[in-house]
Each structure stands twice: as C-alpha cells, then as structure tokens.
C-alpha cells in the first residue's frame, strides 16, 4: 500500500491511499484502502490520515477516522496515531501503520508492524525513515 497526506498554504488538506492488496487474496476481496475512514480520512477541522497494513484489521476499527476523531478530542497527531494503532492491535491482533497530519501541519507517524517506509517534506527538508524511531534528514 502507498499513501499520502498534505496541507497546502491555504490550510486545505487531502489524503490518498492506493494498493494492490495482499498476495493470494480471493478475487473480489476489498481491503481497507478504498473505505472512507478506514484506509484514509480527511477533515480540515481535524487533520488527514492514510493507513497501511492488515486491511481487515484496519477496516474493523475504521482506523483513520478514529485517528482524526482522537485529534478532534485534543490529542496531537503522533499520540492519536499511536493510540489508535494500539487499540487496533489489542482488538484485532493485526498490525499496521499510519501517517497523519494535523490541520496545523504537525506530523504523526507510527507503526506496530516491523517496518513502514515514510517521508515528508517541510521547510526545505526531506525527512524519511523505515525502522522505528528513524528520522534521516536531507535538504530538498
């Protein structure tokens, strides 16, 4: 799965997610990706989020909607993403990751799978990582 979230200079937000699914899936299987609130969710009143990982688990808890809801309750994007993923793992046993932006441009990245590739650009810097707590910085 791949995904992106963005905020532009006018404060408008968007998210997108795209996937091929899981190897050996049954024809006709649809995962979390195209489901509003599961594979992606965006509301300028809170933020934008895109998910990746075990699709059935993500869909069961409407992961991205839950993340944005937690943010609207006052949590920052990092804490909201982490809490929603922990809840998902506790309730379903599945692992996943998500990227989140707040409507102030704050970044939240978390995954409870082994790895998740991510990158973001802000203020002329490209940040990226794939292992937990990694943050490599290079100039744009």
């Amino acid at each position: 799965t791949v995904g992106a979230v963005a905020i532009d200079r006018y404060g408008r937000m968007a998210c997108a997610t795209s996937t091929g699914g899981m190897t050996g899936k049954l024809p006709g299987r649809v995962g979390d990706t195209p489901l509003v609130g599961a594979g992606g969710y965006c509301d300028d009143a809170g933020g934008a989020s895109s998910a990746t990982g075990h699709g059935e688990s993500i869909a069961k808890v409407c992961l991205c909607h839950q993340i944005i809801g937690l943010m609207q309750s006052g949590l920052g994007p990092k804490e909201a993403t982490q809490r929603a993923l922990t809840n998902m793992q506790n309730r379903t046993g599945g692992t996943a990751g998500a990227i989140t932006l707040s409507n102030k441009g704050q970044v939240g990245i978390h995954f409870n799978s082994k790895r998740m590739a991510w990158a973001y650009v802000r203020n002329g810097e490209v940040h990226s990582g794939i292992n937990p707590d990694e943050d490599e910085i290079e100039l744009l």
Binding site: T1, A6, C15, P27, P34, L35, T52, L101, M116, Y120
Partner: protein, 169 residues
C-alpha cells in the same frame, strides 16, 4: 501555514534488500508532492495525487505497477482520495488494467455524484474517462509472480511483506 506533504510506502516485514528501494521511492514521491504544493495554484489534493502516482509507477511498491496478485494471478487494485474542506471523496475497488488507480478515484470524486465504484463498473468508467489501458504485462512484476508462487507453496517469508497474521487474512 507551511505546506507539508507526508507519504508512506507500506508497512510490514519489509526484507532488508527492499529497504533502499522503498526509501528512495518515498523520498521521490514526497518531493514530487511538494513540487505540486509549491506551485501558484497549489492544492493539497493535487499534491497527494502526484505523490501517490509516483509510487504507483514504482514497482518497489504494492500499488499500480508491482501490485500483488490474487490467487488466480490477476491484479485487482483499490484506491481512495479525499479532501477535507467539503469531505469530497472518490474511491475505486477491484480495478484492473490502469497504471494509476488514484487518478480514477479522483475522477469518481470530480465527475460523478458517487463516492465509490467497484469491479467492472469501475473499469468501464475508467475507459469512458479516457484513462489509458495498461496491460497485465505492464503491471505484473517478476517479484509479484514470485510472491504468489511462494504463497501457494507455503514459502511466504521469502517475499511477503506482511506479518504472519496477514498471510492468513
């Protein structure tokens, strides 16, 4: 507000040899999205579409070219795009023979009263909107074929990037 683009290239048990490919791809996608954000008529929507298209075109990722295969060896892709001002949304599922499912999702959002098209209807919609046809040979990679073969023969760890629970759905 300072524009920001944030992307991911998938989560799971990504093997060591795929790590540089993934990192290169997500950095390239984030840069492409930021270029879109930096234009005069900047739009977060344009930026996320541009970034995702870069990764759909990169066979290091499970989307577009490089998508994993169903048990029958076919490709079925899903995508969503959403904006936060009016909650406008477009999504597709079970899409085949297009390079950029996210663009078809955007067309659903921009040119229909619906939010979600699936299967044959989504494929017909893409054709009607002039989305170029991409053959299976263009989209299916050797890595995806190997992953399906490993899955069928119970050797999933060699190529799977999903956790143990994911192999069983």
């Amino acid at each position: 507000i300072d524009p920001v683009i944030l992307v991911h290239g998938g989560a799971g048990d990504i093997p060591e040899w795929r790590v540089p490919l993934k990192l290169h791809g997500v950095r390239k996608a984030a840069r492409a999205g930021y270029v879109s954000l930096s234009k005069d008529e900047c739009s977060a929507l344009d930026a996320v579409e541009a970034a995702v298209k870069v990764m759909e075109d990169d066979e290091a990722f499970n989307a577009g070219k490089g998508s994993v295969l169903t048990i029958k060896g076919t490709i079925e892709m899903d995508a969503i795009i959403m904006e936060g001002k009016n909650l406008k949304t477009g999504a597709v599922a079970g899409l085949s023979n297009v390079s950029n499912p996210v663009t078809v999702a955007r067309l659903v959002m921009d040119s229909t009263p619906h939010i979600f098209l699936a299967g044959p209807g989504a494929n017909s919609f893409a054709r009607e909107k002039g989305v170029p046809f991409a053959s299976d040979d263009e989209l299916i990679t050797d890595f995806a074929r190997q992953a399906l073969d490993d899955f069928i023969h119970g050797r999933g760890e060699a190529t799977s990037e999903l956790g143990q629970e994911s192999k069983h759905g």
